[in-house]
């Protein structure tokens, strides 16, 4: 089933972040999502994570509530979200209208050898079976009414529009291909990443 995905994550994320200005605050989950947002162009208002699996949605929520006039976009992977499913309900309880969550779902633990993740189909062979978990349905079940799945290139323009401008909270699950891609790394020092983000946003570290 995972082989049926047709979208390439790098050009997709580049498209999503195209023309990012001071109004767009981006959190990137550890691993591939971090490298994806960095490949689109490292910028102070990106907060790429090198660890803290399960943190991006919560971090995006705290940021969105603190900065209601800015757009906050969380870009992360299926396994990262699977580790913090409850945070979807925590977001739904707050209904931040400036928060968008984009989950890049390759149905694999891509950073650790492409083992099947829980979003892989069941009965997919001895080494490639997951649970068939549907994160868009889970998000809806947690109270995020505006949740849907994107699979085709033809849907990407609308996806970008929704993530960048639609009244939130917006949840989009995007099925992407399994690919071997270069690591495109941002600075690693967390305090530096935090300080440059705050400096760009607030004018002081």
């Amino acid at each position: 089933m995972s082989s049926s995905a047709t979208l390439h994550r790098r050009p997709l994320v580049k498209e999503i972040l195209k023309g990012a200005d001071d109004n767009l605050l981006v959190i990137g989950g550890l691993g591939s999502s971090n490298w994806d947002i960095t490949d689109a162009g490292d910028r102070p208002l990106n907060m790429p994570l090198w660890g803290a699996m399960g943190a991006p949605v919560g971090m995006g929520l705290g940021l969105a509530l603190a900065q209601p006039a800015k757009r906050v976009l969380v870009v992360t992977g299926d396994a990262d979200l699977m580790m913090s499913l409850g945070s979807l309900a925590t977001v739904a309880a707050q209904q931040p209208d400036n928060l968008a969550i984009c989950v890049l779902d390759n149905e694999k633990f891509g950073e650790t050898g492409n083992q099947a993740s829980h979003t892989s189909p069941r009965n997919n062979g001895p080494t490639d079976s997951g649970a068939g978990a549907d994160l868009a349905m889970i998000a809806k079940g947690c109270g995020l009414a505006d949740s849907s799945v994107v699979r085709e290139q033809a849907e990407v323009a609308q996806l970008v529009k929704d993530l960048r401008t639609k009244k939130g909270p917006v949840f989009r699950l995007v099925k992407v291909m399994v690919e071997k891609l270069d690591f495109v790394m941002p600075p690693q020092d967390g305090a530096h990443l935090k300080d440059r983000f705050r400096q760009a946003l607030l004018g002081s570290a």
Binding site: A52, A55, G58, L63, L65, K70, T90, Q94
Partner: protein
């Protein structure tokens, strides 16, 4: 003398805390309600304590101060995420109602309750234990200064002697 839970709410206001996170917690219930009623504070119910560390990091990225309320049993849930306070070096304040110490009746509360101080210290969190109602305000204030002025992770341990022994509806134990 005012109730110590109201004193904590005052300290939150003094330190301009804008977001407060909580999980199910009888010991903090009066404070949670005070925060929920406040127009100056956004109160968030979490599904697990580790969410709180991530949300607090996001709030700080956006320029807001926060505080997390939890029980000692929840400290174990935060351990890896607590590392964010060191990696990002951001101020973090948590108030922890202690279980498993002073006359605890529930054996299930002892393991994490007893391990709580050591676990927090292992993650580099500074501890501010308090047993006496009259010392709560000054202690929470000191922890908030450590967090927001000193840029540290600080935990106030509201000891079980202060909170009282949970008695499941029986006559309340005198403290």
């Amino acid at each position: 003398m005012s109730d110590w839970r109201d004193d904590i709410f005052e300290v939150f206001q003094d330190h301009d805390i804008k977001q407060v996170y909580h999980v199910p917690d009888a010991g903090h219930s009066r404070l949670i309600e005070a925060c929920q009623r406040s127009n100056a504070i956004r109160t968030l119910a979490l599904t697990t304590e580790e969410e709180g560390v991530a949300v607090a990091a996001g709030a700080w990225l956006g320029g807001q101060r926060s505080a997390m309320l939890m029980q000692s049993s929840g400290v174990g849930n935060t351990v890896n995420m607590m590392g964010l306070t060191k990696t990002l070096r951001f101020p973090f304040l948590t108030l922890i109602t202690m279980r498993g110490e002073y006359g605890e009746f529930n054996s299930w509360q002892y393991p994490m309750g007893r391990a709580t101080p050591a676990v927090l210290e292992a993650m580099g969190v500074m501890l501010y234990p308090v047993d006496e109602a009259r010392e709560v305000k000054a202690t929470v204030d000191a922890a908030a200064r450590t967090a927001f002025n000193g840029g540290q992770a600080a935990a106030v341990l509201l000891r079980q002697k202060l909170i009282g022994i949970k008695d499941f509806g029986k006559k309340k134990a005198k403290s």
